[in-house]
């Protein structure tokens, strides 16, 4: 292999580039990213960075003096993949020909239809999003967060600490019921109420009020919630449009095997854009967590370099963390697989729990709130059990 192109210059792309060098790839390495920035870390964008505790330099993912001998094409968007010529087409009309390709284009925040051009309305995915939101939050006022998922909840928590008046609107009856299940979703999202943040559940958003600047969030039940700032936190969609028609099979992101291989030889996919086959579950899953985007590229790169001749190891159960209202939330496994969940340690009322999810008596997931030590034990056990 003489040239490998990595498309997407964020966590998964950087991790793939590092793995390539670490695994002995010595050829030309081109990293293509549409943001103008060097790889930076996203989790702090809703936490310390948004709160003003750390600056942009602290977000850098590369270490000082790190040199991957890569050509970095930043501010360059991939618009297509020509499988026969093995070329990545770029928005500026150029192209990069490569024998090996790593797809790491991640996900983009979902927007609310009709919010275009309305000042005070934000999504939060990129550094530029975070800068704009941070500047708006600094002016204070009433914040309405649409969506009670992890990013929405973290923004609410950060804004609450900054002294804003915060309301969270969630369409489902219980926030976080998807990732955590009803019971634990209820316990974790009660953190909002503990801190005086208003939580409105089971009601959809009809639209936004205001002329040039947002002044209200209009609910489907007819209520209108006054707002100076609105954050839309309704999830993300995989950035795979550029692969339409390329022969790479797309199904909720790039469909790939347990080793990251896609439907095209010499092409692997990693990170938030990739729907990996999960051998434990027997189906594909797209997991949008930091740790997977960081760890899995090693396996995908091994596949790429070996031409698919390596046996994939069984990956560890997916893991993510969140920090809300000073509580460290950790989760590993899949809540949806469980038929029971029990609190093994701590008290839900104190927002301090270690809960184990089981299916037919076997642990399939674990949740910790301020329980890092026990959580690690269970996480280890979960990985060993599967």
């Amino acid at each position: 292999m003489r040239t490998v192109a990595v498309v997407g210059a964020s966590l998964a792309g950087l991790s793939a580039a590092r793995s390539l060098r670490k695994q002995g790839y010595d050829g030309r390495l081109v990293v293509i990213g549409d943001e103008p920035h060097r790889p930076y870390d996203r989790p702090p964008l809703s936490k310390e960075f948004l709160a003003g505790g750390i600056g942009e330099a602290d977000l850098a993912l590369e270490t000082d003096g790190e040199d991957l001998r890569a050509e970095w094409l930043l501010g360059a968007r991939a618009t297509g993949l020509d499988r026969t010529r093995r070329a990545v087409r770029l928005a500026d009309g150029g192209e990069i020909r490569a024998d090996g390709l790593v797809i790491a284009t991640g996900a983009a925040a979902r927007q609310l239809p009709g919010s275009d051009g309305l000042a005070g309305v934000h999504v939060l995915r990129t550094l530029d999003d975070a800068r704009a939101l941070r500047d708006d939050l600094a002016r204070g006022g009433r914040l309405v967060v649409i969506g009670g998922g992890f990013v929405g909840a973290e923004v609410a928590s950060t804004a609450c600490a900054l002294g804003l008046e915060v309301t969270v609107v969630e369409a489902a009856p219980t926030p976080l019921a998807g990732p955590l299940g009803q019971a634990m979703g209820g316990i974790v999202s009660a953190l909002h109420l503990d801190h005086g943040v208003r939580l409105l559940c089971g009601v959809g958003v009809k639209g936004l009020g205001g002329e040039r600047k947002v002044d209200a969030v209009l609910l489907e039940d007819g209520r209108s919630i006054p707002a100076d700032i609105v954050v839309v936190g309704v999830g993300a969609r995989p950035c795979v449009d550029w692969l339409e028609g390329s022969g790479v099979i797309l199904e909720n992101g790039v469909k790939c095997g347990a080793d990251g291989r896609t439907s095209l030889a010499g092409v692997v996919a990693v990170g938030d854009c990739a729907s990996w086959y999960d051998p434990r579950a027997g189906h594909h899953r797209r997991v949008e967590h930091w740790t997977g985007a960081q760890e899995r590229p090693a396996a995908a790169v091994a596949t790429l370099l070996a031409g698919g001749a390596v046996e994939p190891g069984v990956p560890r159960p997916p893991y993510f963390w969140s920090d809300q209202y000073g509580v460290k939330i950790q989760f590993a496994g899949h809540a949806a697989d469980a038929d029971s969940v029990t609190v093994e340690e701590g008290a839900p009322d104190d927002r301090n729990v270690l809960a184990v999810y089981r299916r037919a008596g076997r642990p399939v997931a674990v949740l910790g709130m301020n329980q890092p030590r026990l959580f690690t034990r269970w996480r280890k056990q979960l990985a060993a059990a599967s």
């Binding site: 966590l11 991790s15 590092r18 870390d41 989790p43 505790g53 750390i54 602290d58 993912l61 270490t63 000082d64 930091w290 740790t291 960081q294 760890e295 893991y319 963390w321 460290k328 950790q330 890092p372 030590r373 959580f375 690690t376 996480r379 280890k380």
Partner: protein, 120 residues
């Protein structure tokens, strides 16, 4: 500075013991029976590495999964970027002692500020 940690018999393999000195130091007893001491606080944020996932000669931070090499203190991957200090471990009459390094520790900004008496 030599600090008594605990009796060797009281620290089973696969376990870690945190010494509450400032900054805290942890002693790890690996599954292979080796003993190592490193700074307990992750260099990324305020996490105790003694709460982490010990495997071979590496401990994985309990929060964001950067791994530190117990022998060298080196870190493998982000989000942590700086190594932790390593300390000498001695065993005398069945007691574990730690000789604390005189190097400057690589504490995460939030913890460094707290130790300096500034805002947490």
């Amino acid at each position: 500075m030599m600090i008594p940690a605990c009796r060797l018999a009281d620290l089973p393999r696969g376990e870690a013991l945190r010494l509450d000195i400032d900054p805290p130091v942890s002693v790890f007893h690996t599954d292979d029976g080796e003993l190592f001491a490193i700074d307990d606080t992750c260099t990324h944020q305020d996490a105790s590495l003694a709460d982490g996932w010990l495997e071979g000669c590496e401990v994985e931070c309990p929060l964001h999964a950067s791994k530190f090499d117990l022998r060298t203190g080196a870190v493998d991957a982000p989000p942590a970027k700086l190594p932790v200090r390593t300390h000498d471990v001695l065993i005398e009459d069945g007691m574990i002692y730690v000789r604390v390094s005189t190097d400057a520790p690589n504490l995460p900004p939030c913890v460094a500020a707290r130790l300096a008496g500034g805002p947490a």
